[in-house]
Each structure stands twice: as structure tokens, then as C-alpha cells.
């Protein structure tokens, strides 16, 4: 009897541990984790990767990623990563950070690591809200969005305006590649994967600092069901944070 021809089409990447995550249904973190893990596998980087986890919803990322990881104090991931990369310039160093971590408490560490041109890849999850602490205003919260600390919705006169840190980083001379994607549909997720791949290639080619911002749904704290949250991300959040390449001086061309 002949064996039926079986081809494995889908499996867990080796760069992910076989553990359940604590992420809510419809949250973008799981998708982003998977994209990072798939790419580390595809590029053969898992065993030379050192990741830096943030404080925020992804604080437990070291329980899900199957490579060396360290926890950073809130906002300090890129300073910690700088220390790591300077000791191990031949290793692959990435930070995985949310908007509160990267664009509020860690703004200084973010801008200065980028401006030094540290050869690090940063995955920046922008869900416009503080998730782990329960839905307070983020620096990226859009005008009108109701957070637990913005009664009636974010009012720019009272609460300040949403910050576009990716645009700010693009101004720094030593940043090489910055792109904003959304985790909202197969098309956009595939695009996000290509952007993350390019960011990884920028580091592998020793070109400098790169960052991929991922607009990511937070159904729990936006008080929406997952499908509404994904639609809101694509139709509303992108109005404040337009998708696309913000800066690319890598010379790497299109990445497939």
C-alpha cells in the first residue's frame, strides 16, 4: 500500500514556544508575535537572536518567544538593547514595544537609540491605548477616543494631540527604515510581514536602526467586538496614522 502524499502546510514556528498566550481575542499581539517568529525561522536567526520585552501587554513575551530574551524596565527597551548589541555586534537584537512604552515613558530612549543608529530592529505595536493597565489614554490615543482617563473622549486642548513617533524618528539622520502597517486583513498582515523582514535585513546588513509600526486592534479596551475593532483600525486609526513607508534609505529595494 502506498502512503498518501502529505505536505505540511502550516505549523508553529520554532521561534514560538508551544504555550498559550494571555492575549485577548482579536488582539494584534498574537499575529505580530507569529510574524516575528516566522521571519526569524525563515532567515535562520533564532539561535542568534536576543529579544527585549517591554512593560505593557507584551511584558510576558519571553514566555512565548523561543529565543533568548530579557525584560526591560518600562520604556527602556532600546537602552537595554543598545547595551546588548554593543557587547554582541554579531548577534541579532530586536525590541518589541507598545505605544506607552515606546512613545511615552520611553520617548527619550527611543529617539536617542534611533539617532545613534543602533543596529537594532524595533517592532512597535500601536493600539492607541494602555492595554495592560486597563484602558487609560496612550500618547497615541486618537482624538475623540474614550479612554478611562479621557472622559468624553480625547480632547486635544485638555489631553494633547496623538503623537506620531514614527514620523519623528524619520527625521533622525541615523534611522534607515521606518514603515507603518496594520494588522487588520490578510493583505495588510502580509504587507506587515514584508516590512518586518526588511527591518531584519537592514540589521543583517549592518545598515542602522529600523522600526516597523503595527497598528493593532485592542477590542477589550476599545470596548468593541474583534471584527469591529479590526474594521475600526483599518478605517479610522489609519486616518491619524496613514499606512506606508515613512523612510527608507536602506537601498534594499522590494522585499518578498
Amino acid at each position: 500500500m502506498s502512503q498518501p502524499a502529505v505536505k505540511k502546510l502550516f505549523s508553529r514556528p520554532e521561534s514560538l514556544k508551544p504555550s498559550m498566550t494571555h492575549y485577548c481575542p482579536g488582539c494584534g499581539h498574537s499575529v505580530a508575535h507569529r510574524l516575528v517568529a516566522e521571519l526569524l525561522d525563515e532567515l535562520g536567526l533564532r539561535e542568534k537572536t536576543i529579544g527585549v520585552a517591554p512593560v505593557g501587554c507584551a511584558v510576558l513575551a519571553y514566555n512565548y518567544f523561543n529565543f533568548d530574551m530579557v525584560e526591560a524596565p518600562h520604556g527602556r527597551a532600546l537602552a537595554v538593547a543598545t547595551g546588548i548589541k554593543r557587547v554582541h555586534p554579531d548577534k541579532f537584537v530586536l525590541t518589541y514595544q507598545g505605544d506607552g512604552d515606546l512613545a511615552a515613558i520611553g520617548t527619550a530612549e527611543t529617539i536617542h537609540a534611533a539617532n545613534r543608529g543602533e543596529k537594532i530592529s524595533t517592532i512597535f505595536i500601536n493600539n492607541a491605548i494602555y492595554g495592560m493597565t486597563g484602558g487609560q489614554m496612550a500618547p497615541t490615543t486618537t482624538v475623540g477616543l474614550v479612554a478611562t482617563t479621557t472622559p468624553g473622549g480625547r480632547d486635544p486642548d485638555r489631553d494633547g494631540a496623538p503623537i506620531d513617533i514614527s514620523q519623528m524618528l524619520a527625521v533622525c539622520q541615523r534611522t534607515v527604515y521606518i514603515e507603518r502597517c496594520a494588522l487588520t486583513s490578510v493583505k495588510h498582515i502580509q504587507k506587515a510581514k514584508r516590512a518586518i523582514k526588511k527591518s531584519f535585513l537592514v540589521q543583517l546588513n549592518n545598515l542602522g536602526f529600523s522600526l516597523v509600526e503595527l497598528l493593532s486592534p485592542c477590542p477589550t479596551n476599545w470596548k468593541m467586538n474583534p471584527s469591529d475593532a479590526w474594521r475600526w483600525t483599518e478605517s479610522i486609526l489609519t486616518k491619524t496614522y496613514p499606512l506606508g513607508v515613512i523612510k527608507d534609505t536602506s537601498g534594499l529595494g522590494d522585499v518578498r
Binding site: 533564532r46 539561535e47 542568534k48 537572536t49 536576543i50 527585549v52 520585552a53 511584558v59 510576558l60 519571553y62 514566555n63 518567544f65 523561543n66 529565543f67 533568548d68 530574551m69 530579557v70 525584560e71 526591560a72 524596565p73 527602556r76 537602552a79 537595554v80 538593547a81 543598545t82 547595551g83 546588548i84 548589541k85 554593543r86 557587547v87 554582541h88 548577534k91 541579532f92 527619550a108 530612549e109 529617539i111 536617542h112 545613534r116
Partner: protein, 358 residues
């Protein structure tokens, strides 16, 4: 070799295998990063002038978890900013050397010599149950020795070590003999560092332990480490204490002045000695306790309104009368001033210093 104190720390660090320095300018310790900015280049190391003290201490975390011998330095307000990172280093059990060349406070204070950060250094200025080893050198030669030892102790116990000096010490020129340099590549391998998981299971280094019994166990493990340090790493100097009727207690720069006072008073026939703690944590409590009693008086001299005196009280208790001369804010008394204090205590005239009521 005749060298400035701040340069002595830098040179000793490089000889101890330190190849990574991260810091932010603040007076009075800038000569140390300036020295290392070029010295580390010569040995293939890394010097980064960071955007803040906060960034510096977090770069230290990164370099330490990656396995490097690493140091940062600052002065009082800057050390306050590093406290979050110091707490993480302790929680994550990562070695590092932190130099504090103290200046006057609170707030911006001034840039004069001070010992006002004793509580912050020995009690932990950051959050959580933790301890730092705190070394208090009193000469350039000792700066060289203790800087070297600080890296060894940090690696041995996987805990940050603080060198507590002051602005005067950083500027002081004195001859110094250095130990032979060691090659950091020849140090024993560390089994907890992150360098990619090739050939082994991935490692995770973190301090967050959400499960209360797990964090309890972690805290108890740290406690056992601190108890071991307390048992093994006490350092101190005694000077002319055997027949002393008054023992002055002082550390660092203050102890230099106090020793001058002891020499002066001995020439005049007063039976005065000096006890100098070199480790401020762990504090040499038992030794000091053994010197107290039998009518011996204790005179604490420090460049603050009185912080180390609390450790003296815990050591001595009611065995001896304890007097304090605390001088905050930057004026540096001369040996003659301290000798006056000592004579006043010996005579019991209440003219100088104050008696500490327990």
C-alpha cells in the same frame, strides 16, 4: 604613578576587565567618563555618552545581561535617576559597578564634597527588598584596589556594587600602584547570560514574578545571598583603638580628616582612635560592637547631618555614649576641627557635636 582619583577609578576598571561604560555628564565626576572615553577605545571597548542617567543604567543592564563587565558613574542627583535600573539589576541578579561621587543635596544642592547619599546607597534608593554592596575608599590607592574588587564581587554575587566617594576624592592627586590587567576574555564563563540560544534552550532574564509564592522564594533566595555577603565581605580599618578612650567613626574623605585629628591628638597625649568602615553595606557591626563598652566613647564624624550614625547606633547600642559631628552642605572641616570635637567629647563639656539619644 601620580593620578587624579577619578582617573584612578577609570584605569582600575579597565585593568579589571571592564570594557563597557555608559554615563551622562554631571559634576563632580566628569573626569572619569572623559578618561574612559579614550581609554576604552584603546582596549576595543565601548563608551557611550547616553541621553540620560536613566538610559545609562539601562544600557548597563543590557551589557551585563549580554555578559560584559560594565560600569556607570554619576553624582548624587544622577544616582537618584538610576535607582529604577539598580532595582532591576538586583531583581534580575545582574552584576555591575556603579560609582557615586557624592555632592551636596537635597535637590540640585551643590557640587561640594558630601556624604549625604549614605541612606540611598546602603538602604536602597530604589524599590523592593534589595541590597547593594557599598565600598567606601579613602585614598587613591584604595580607589584602585576597591574598583578592581568591585568587579570581582559583582560577578561573584551577581549583584551590583556601588563605590561611594565624593567630589574631593575624584579630584585628589595621589600616587597609586595598579594591579596587573586581566583579559576579560579569560574570565570564567557565565551560565545565565544572553548570547543567542545556539546549542542550548533559550534563556529569559526577568524580575517579574507574578505568582506571590514564587516572588517570595526569589526574595528569600536574595536574602540568603545578602546574608552570605554579610558573613564574608566585611571590610574595615582600625587605627590606634587598643587603648582609646574615644573612638572616632568615619568613612571615606571624612576618615582621612579624622585620622589627621587622631594623629594630632595622640601627639598631645589624648587616647583617641579611629574606626573606618570600608564596606558600608554590609556594615562591620560586630567589630564596632566589640570596640564599644568599658567606658569607651564613640564619636561619629560624617559629611551629612547624620546618616551613618544610625548604623553606629545599631552596632553599639547602649554600650557606649555616642556623639555626632555631622557637617552637611559642603564645608570640609580640617583635622583641627575634628580634634576640637574629639576633645570636647572626651571632656564631656557639650561644646561641640551632639550626644545621640537612643
Amino acid at each position: 604613578m601620580l593620578m587624579r582619583g577619578a582617573h584612578v577609578v577609570g584605569e582600575a576598571a579597565v585593568r579589571a576587565g571592564c570594557r563597557y561604560y555608559f554615563g551622562y555628564p554631571i559634576t563632580p565626576q566628569n573626569e572619569l567618563p572623559e578618561y574612559l572615553s579614550s581609554r576604552l577605545l584603546e582596549v576595543g571597548g565601548t563608551f557611550i555618552q547616553a541621553e540620560s542617567e536613566i538610559a545609562s543604567i539601562n544600557m548597563v543592564i543590557g551589557a551585563s545581561v549580554a555578559g560584559g563587565r560594565v560600569m556607570t558613574s554619576s553624582s548624587s542627583p544622577g544616582i537618584s535617576l538610576k535607582q529604577e535600573g539598580i532595582s532591576y539589576l538586583c531583581g534580575q541578579e545582574l552584576p555591575a559597578v556603579i560609582v557615586n561621587m557624592m555632592r551636596g543635596g537635597p535637590g540640585l544642592g551643590n557640587i561640594a564634597p558630601s556624604q549625604a547619599d549614605y541612606f540611598q546607597a546602603t538602604r536602597g534608593g530604589g524599590h523592593g527588598d534589595y541590597r547593594l554592596l557599598v565600598l567606601a575608599p579613602a585614598s587613591n590607592q584604595e580607589l584602585a584596589e576597591l574598583t578592581f574588587d568591585a568587579f570581582e564581587l559583582a560577578d561573584k554575587y551577581r549583584n551590583p556594587v556601588m563605590i561611594l566617594g565624593d567630589g574631593l576624592m575624584g579630584q585628589m592627586m595621589e600616587p597609586v600602584i595598579f594591579r596587573d590587567p586581566i583579559d576579560p576574555r579569560e574570565l570564567p564563563p557565565k551560565d545565565y547570560i544572553l548570547e543567542g540560544c545556539k546549542g542550548r534552550e533559550p534563556r529569559a532574564v526577568f524580575s517579574m514574578l507574578l505568582d506571590p509564592p514564587t516572588l517570595y522564594q526569589h526574595n528569600m533566595k536574595l536574602l540568603r545571598k545578602y546574608e552570605e555577603i554579610s558573613a564574608k565581605e566585611i571590610r574595615y580599618e582600625t587605627y590606634q583603638v587598643d587603648d582609646a578612650e574615644l573612638i572616632l567613626v568615619a568613612y571615606g574623605t571624612a576618615s582621612r580628616i579624622a585620622k589627621g585629628a587622631v594623629n594630632r591628638l595622640r601627639r598631645e597625649g589624648f587616647k583617641v582612635g579611629l574606626f573606618r568602615p570600608v564596606t558600608l553595606w554590609p556594615y562591620p557591626k560586630e567589630v564596632l560592637r566589640s570596640l564599644a563598652g568599658g567606658g569607651v566613647k564613640i564619636g561619629v564624624f560624617e559629611l551629612s547631618v547624620g546618616q551613618m550614625v544610625e548604623d553606629v547606633i545599631m552596632s553599639v547600642g547602649s554600650r557606649s555614649e555616642i556623639y555626632l559631628q555631622g557637617v552637611p552642605g559642603g564645608p570640609v572641616p580640617t583635622p583641627a576641627h575634628v580634634a576640637d570635637f574629639a576633645v570636647s567629647v572626651l571632656k564631656g563639656d557639650g561644646r561641640l557635636g551632639r550626644k545621640v539619644e537612643i
